[in-house]
Amino acid sequence: SHPFYELEDALGVVQHHDSITGTGKEHVARDYSRRVQAGIDKATPHVLSIILNQMFPNRTLKSAIDLQNSGLQERLEETLQYCPLLLNESICEAATNTVFEGGKENMYVVVYNPLYQQSLQPRTWVVRVPVSMPGIYSVERVDDDIILSRDQTGNNKQLVHARVVNARNDNYTTHENNTIWQVEFLAGPLLPLGAVTYRVALQQPLGETESLNEDDEILPNNFIEIS
């Protein structure tokens, strides 16, 4: 009955060399991924509750700030979902369903570090999430400052151009054409078994044409060009 049992069982089955090397028949390969996905679907709610408890440790409603938080907590409990963001598919409904128009909604991205040992370098990770529209987005780390986020002077706010990329593996993408908009930012430092939370908000919508498209040769300013 443990929520992880089905995933463990599936991972036991996929130890077969056909699964590891992909030499089985195609429908067998798809059956392996179906089993693993079923295990992930069963385990995710349990992991989500761990994450949410970490984000909003149970607090008595001792202050107005918590009142604000409880609204955010309820909303994220409804909408937070695991986004595999694999190489061959660009699926994340929670991201592409966020209504950025008119600043109506913001997107929250929680990055959870499953490593338990501390690495030499502080761990950072490039996060690429699909968004529903082109534009310039602010990405602001708000994890344990969620309560105080209104005070943030924005000093940890990055401004990021959403850029157009080719959707992976056009079977699954729900996008009519084959391109999607993507926001990319560096998350971290990530502590062992720790989670950090970012709020992504649309700062300035851009028309599809004026957005930074793949052919622009301008180099980002954080790169030095060495002759």
Binding site: D18, I20, T21, T23, K25, E26, L48, A64, Q68, G71, T79, L80, Q81, C83, L85, L87, N88, C92, A94, A95, N97, T98, K104, N106, Y108, V109, V110, Y112, N113, P114, S119, Q121, R123, T124, W125, V126, V129, S149, R150, Q158, N169, N171, E184, F185, L186, G188, L190, R199, L212, E214, D215, D216, E217, L219, P220, N222, F223, I224, I226, S227
Partner: protein, 335 residues
């Protein structure tokens, strides 16, 4: 003017040929404690894509040799024992064969490879701020077979400055690194080498590296692979296989999936439309360091590549971010 060099901010600088997009060298200074840098490593590095045609018992078997063991799930066997790698040329996808794409965190260099402008390998080399490696994301397929030959697709890394003398290292299930010596067996005296390519391929589940007393070069994989150093100063990793004849050891069919990409079940695609072949995507992460540091390079990153961060996404009305709670609410709440 002919090269473009970018840094990841951690002491590694990758240089690309502006006209071809090909990588030509990596400078690396590993940051050591106290913020100092180790001495600089300057390594020529070139990335190649190619393939071996698999042994096909229907037309590669030598007359009278009924032991026609075809390449397949249980066997890797090139059509000729010491077949040189068929190197793929770059090809034009759209208006060019390479594209420099700036990203918010760095630079991507897109290059396409294939024959007669049928590009079936798309490579994205990424240098990203604060990431200690060069990321090579590839999408391979559908592997063309209209020439009647299967193909076993290999990504080869040329590091001509490293004198590895036939020695390289592969991990054993991400635990010990095992020393591999070309055409040699530690447990018995290998006198006649029948398969100089297949006989020197080894399993790679996390990393493969080669090194000498000045420089080390490691390739970290994101899944199980076969790999080797067939030529001194090179490493190669096999990423995809498409064969046309069954190896008669398994399920009675060759490694030739033609449902590729499209799920034949509605709503994604109609069951009648058979794809042209499987398409695979993956990532190799390349690391460069000082002499005899290959294991240290690989270990520093391989656990993190295995246990990548999990991403959760949610949304909330933007007015929830800022407290617009008035005192009365507070009083109500306290009441």
């Amino acid at each position: 003017e002919s090269t473009l060099s970018v840094s990841n901010g951690l002491g590694m600088i990758a240089s690309f040929d502006r006209s071809t997009g090909e990588m030509d060298r990596v400078l690396s200074q590993t940051k050591i404690f106290g913020g100092a840098y180790s001495d600089e490593v300057d390594l020529r590095l070139e990335l190649q894509w190619g393939y071996y045609t698999p042994f096909n018992s229907e037309h590669d078997t030598i007359p009278g040799d009924d032991y026609g063991q075809s390449s397949g799930a249980y066997v890797f066997r090139p059509s000729m024992p010491n077949q040189p790698l068929n190197v793929l040329p770059t090809c034009k996808s759209g208006k060019d064969s390479t594209r420099f794409v700036p990203t918010p965190l760095g630079l991507e260099v897109h290059t396409f490879y294939g024959h007669d402008d049928e590009c079936w390998v798309h490579q994205i080399v990424r240098v990203t701020q604060d990431q200690p490696w060069i990321e090579v994301e590839y999408t391979v397929g559908p592997v063309p077979i209209k020439d009647g030959r299967g193909k076993e697709v290999v990504s080869r890394f040329l590091t001509p400055d490293i004198a590895n003398n036939g020695v390289f290292f592969t991990d054993s299930n991400a635990r010990a690194f095992l020393k591999r010596q070309r055409d040699y067996r530690p447990s018995w005296n290998l006198t006649t080498v029948h398969e100089p390519i297949a006989g020197n391929y080894y399993p790679v589940t996390a990393a493969i590296f080669l090194q000498d007393e000045n420089t080390s070069f490691a390739v970290l994989t994101d899944r199980a692979r076969g790999g080797s150093s067939i030529v001194d100063g090179t490493l190669e990793v096999k990423v995809q296989r498409r064969t046309l004849v069954d190896d008669r050891h398994g399920v009675g069919e060759p490694l030739n999936e033609t449902v590729g990409g499209m799920t034949p079940y509605p709503p994604f695609g109609d069951a009648t439309r058979m794809g042209r072949g499987v398409i695979v995507s993956g990532v190799h992460r390349l690391m460069v360091g000082g002499g005899n540091t290959g294991a240290q390079l690989a270990r520093s990153a391989m656990d993190g590549i295995f246990a990548q961060p999990l991403i959760f996404v949610g949304s909330a009305p933007s007015d929830l971010n800022h407290t617009n709670v008035t005192d009365t609410t507070l009083e109500d709440e306290e009441a």
